[in-house]
């Protein structure tokens, strides 16, 4: 939420979760939302996929990889549907992810991700296939040029809302941007009978 580290270009191996419609209840089940901070949620990211009821590990790829080597999550269609919980991007980032890729990413999850520096990348089904068919590959994501480069050299562009992109590239703080508009906000309230 506060000033963030600028995000620009990085390369990393991917990890593939092929399931479609991974909702935010899967990313972080509601019973972990009683926290009053953002810290440490990576250990419960995909909790019910990774652990049994008694807390022991299930055989799951997220328990087997080194998160510092796998910064890019490639998921099935319609990633992040459901609840508006910002705990979902917090948990993914705390686990180690810097970007998520899908053929479709739900609105609120996308907005929440951008505000935290987790880059949502929407790709065509063809590119998605190329990613999932080589799930060990290393990709490069460049926000300046909005490009994703696969291991086979294929480079595609992706869309990021212009203001969100600027915030991420330059570390602009969205709350600060709004706070700078307080004179206009006050004028609006006065004109529209909404002053306190």
């Amino acid at each position: 939420m506060s000033n963030q580290e600028p995000v620009n270009s990085f390369s990393s191996r991917i990890v593939v979760l092929p399931e479609a419609n991974i909702d935010t209840d899967q990313i972080i089940p509601a019973r972990f939302l009683t926290t009053t901070t953002k810290a440490g949620l990576g250990k419960v990211a995909f909790n019910d996929w990774r652990y049994t009821a008694d807390g022991s590990n299930k055989p799951h790829i997220l328990n087997e990889i080194d998160p510092t080597e796998h910064r890019v999550l490639v998921a099935g269609n319609n990633l992040g549907c459901g609840s508006s919980r910002e705990h979902a991007p917090w948990a993914l980032m705390d686990y180690g992810f810097k970007a998520v890729i899908s053929t479709e990413i739900a609105d609120i999850f996308k907005s929440n991700s951008l505000k935290n520096g987790l880059l949502p990348v929407v790709v065509s089904p063809d590119i998605h296939d190329k990613l999932t068919q080589n799930p060990q590959q290393r990709v490069t994501i460049d926000l300046e040029s909005c490009t994703l480069t696969l291991e086979d050299g294929t480079t595609v562009t992706f869309q990021v809302e212009a203001f969100a992109r600027q915030c991420l590239l330059e570390g602009v703080d969205a709350m600060g941007w709004l706070l700078k508009r307080l004179p206009e906000i006050e004028a609006y309230e006065k004109t529209n009978g909404k002053a306190a």
């Binding site: 209840d25 009683t34 009821a53 479709e104 609105d107 306190a196």
Partner: protein, 471 residues
């Protein structure tokens, strides 16, 4: 002649502080900000870190609903929190509200309840408003002609600090529902049909407007249920034009203008409806006369079907996976689905009309052996009204549990949950894997269907328990 405008455009334009451009979003003014304990603590921390206070405490209202127990306190007044952390979360909101001078509808407030139930109930929600809350079902308030949508915690902070959000204007879609509903078909069945028609992401990027004779004929509770589920088709918000029904429903409520000022406001509200000739980015039509009582069979709210048609056969891998999780084979009748739990409540269906519909079916009947039925009113006001009408006695005599208001088993973070493997028929909004507890299986349906399923012990069409007038 000015260009005809849609309901959405009229409300949007009235809230623009600064126009959007190619490289910047619009600054959108927010009339009403509702806050609850789960998605707010980190936003208040952000304000603290910047030395800020809530800018408009008069437009910010807080309630306790997600983490709180629905069981009564013990003899010493201790509330049975699921964890110490849940208690701490509630205390954190109490402290943040006190520090910022916010009105908090706390434990002892007669208005406490689920955020999307109490907003309209008190008349905080008014036609033409922009309404936000850190909760995706904020779309509920669209039933009153509001642009109402869920936001994340960062944006909760933005609104607390500035009363504004940086937003891009969404596309618009009108959903016309023609004809008339058959007897025994409710707003929830309409909503599940709409989501099934649009698909889980068919509404992504759109503000929906629901219109047509079926919507006009729905009561306000039914309209709230329809708007509530807009997010389940991926839409940012869903709206319905205010009409005389909206006006009469709001008249006399605590926070609406009173006396002559109310009639003045109401006259304005009635001008918000979409102009003839208003253009939408997309329009679809659904035959309302063909809608039947619906139940979901999968793990996404769009995976629903009329109960009488049974469980569909999987059409693709996603549906196969969903059926497997649910323990269904596909092609079977719904009667084979033995029910373990029935949950009636939530921001989707926890209002008086919902409880009355459930009680009409449970009256004089018993919950089937082995079924646990939990009835959770959406607010203190609903609880008190229901008890005045004796609905709680109908539920208790049927063998159901009658709880205190809260989100309860819909989101299963307060200790009310469905056990692994159990099948629940729920009037809530999401049937995701494990939503109602790890390993839980959820069938979404209307209050009437949930009540009928509790009595029958399997997923049941409620019309078999209704005295239906011939249409």
């Amino acid at each position: 002649m000015s260009k005809p405008k849609s309901l959405f455009e009229k409300v949007w334009e009235r809230h623009i502080v600064e126009e959007e451009g190619a490289d910047k979003p619009a600054v959108l003014y927010i009339d009403l900000h509702l806050v609850h304990e789960v998605t707010s603590p980190q936003a208040f921390s952000e304000l603290d870190a910047r030395g800020l206070k809530v800018r408009r405490p008069d437009r910010t209202f807080a309630t306790l609903d997600h983490s709180i127990p629905t069981l009564a306190p013990d003899a010493d007044g201790n509330r049975p929190y699921v964890t110490a952390q849940a208690k701490k979360q509630v205390e954190t909101l109490e402290a943040n509200a006190a520090k910022n001078g916010l009105r908090l509808f706390g434990y002892d407030a007669e208005n406490r309840g689920v955020v999307h139930v109490i907003g309209p109930e008190m008349g905080l929600t008014q036609p033409g408003f922009t309404v936000v809350c850190g909760d995706s079902h904020t779309s509920t308030h669209g039933a009153f002609g509001c642009i109402a949508f869920g936001i994340g915690t960062s944006e909760v902070g933005h609104v607390l600090a500035t009363q504004c959000l940086a937003q891009r204007k969404p596309k618009t879609m009108r959903i016309n529902i023609t004809g008339a509903l058959q007897p025994g078909v409710t707003g929830k069945d309409v909503a599940l049909t709409v989501i099934n028609t649009l698909g889980f992401s068919g509404g992504t990027g759109y503000a929906l407007e629901y219109a047509g004779p079926v919507i006009e004929a729905l009561d306000m509770e039914g309209r709230m249920t329809v708007c509530n589920l807009s997010i389940e088709a991926g839409a940012r918000c869903g709206m319905i034009a205010p009409d005389q029904k909206t006006v009469e429903w709001l008249r006399g409520r605590e926070y609406v203008p009173q006396g002559a000022a109310f009639d003045e406001a109401a006259a304005q509200w009635l001008t918000l409806k979409s102009d003839d000739g208003a253009v939408f980015d997309k329009e679809i039509t659904i035959d309302g006369s063909a809608i039947e009582p619906m139940a979901t069979w999968g793990t996404s709210p769009d995976q629903g079907a009329p109960i009488v048609r049974g469980v569909p056969v999987a059409a693709n891998e996603d549906e196969e996976r969903a059926l497997k999780y649910m323990g269904f084979t596909g092609g079977e009748a719904r009667e084979v689905e033995k029910v373990d739990v029935v949950f009636i409540g939530s921001c989707t269906n926890g209002r008086m009309a919902d409880l009355r519909a459930a009680a009409a079916i449970m009256k004089g009947r018993k919950v089937a052996p082995g079924v646990r039925a939990l009835i959770v009113p959406g607010s203190e006001w609903v609880r008190v009204e229901a008890e005045k009408e004796g609905l709680h006695n109908i539920f208790l005599e049927a063998g159901a549990e009658w709880r205190l208001p809260g989100c309860s088993m819909c989101i299963a973070m307060n200790g009310d949950f469905v056990l692994p493997g159990q099948l629940a028929v729920s009037t809530s909004n999401r049937n995701f894997e494990g939503r109602q507890g790890p390993g839980s299986r959820t069938v979404l349906a209307s209050p009437a269907t949930a009540a009928a399923s509790a009595i029958a012990g399997h997923v049941a069409d409620p019309r078999q328990f209704m005295q239906l007038e011939s249409a």
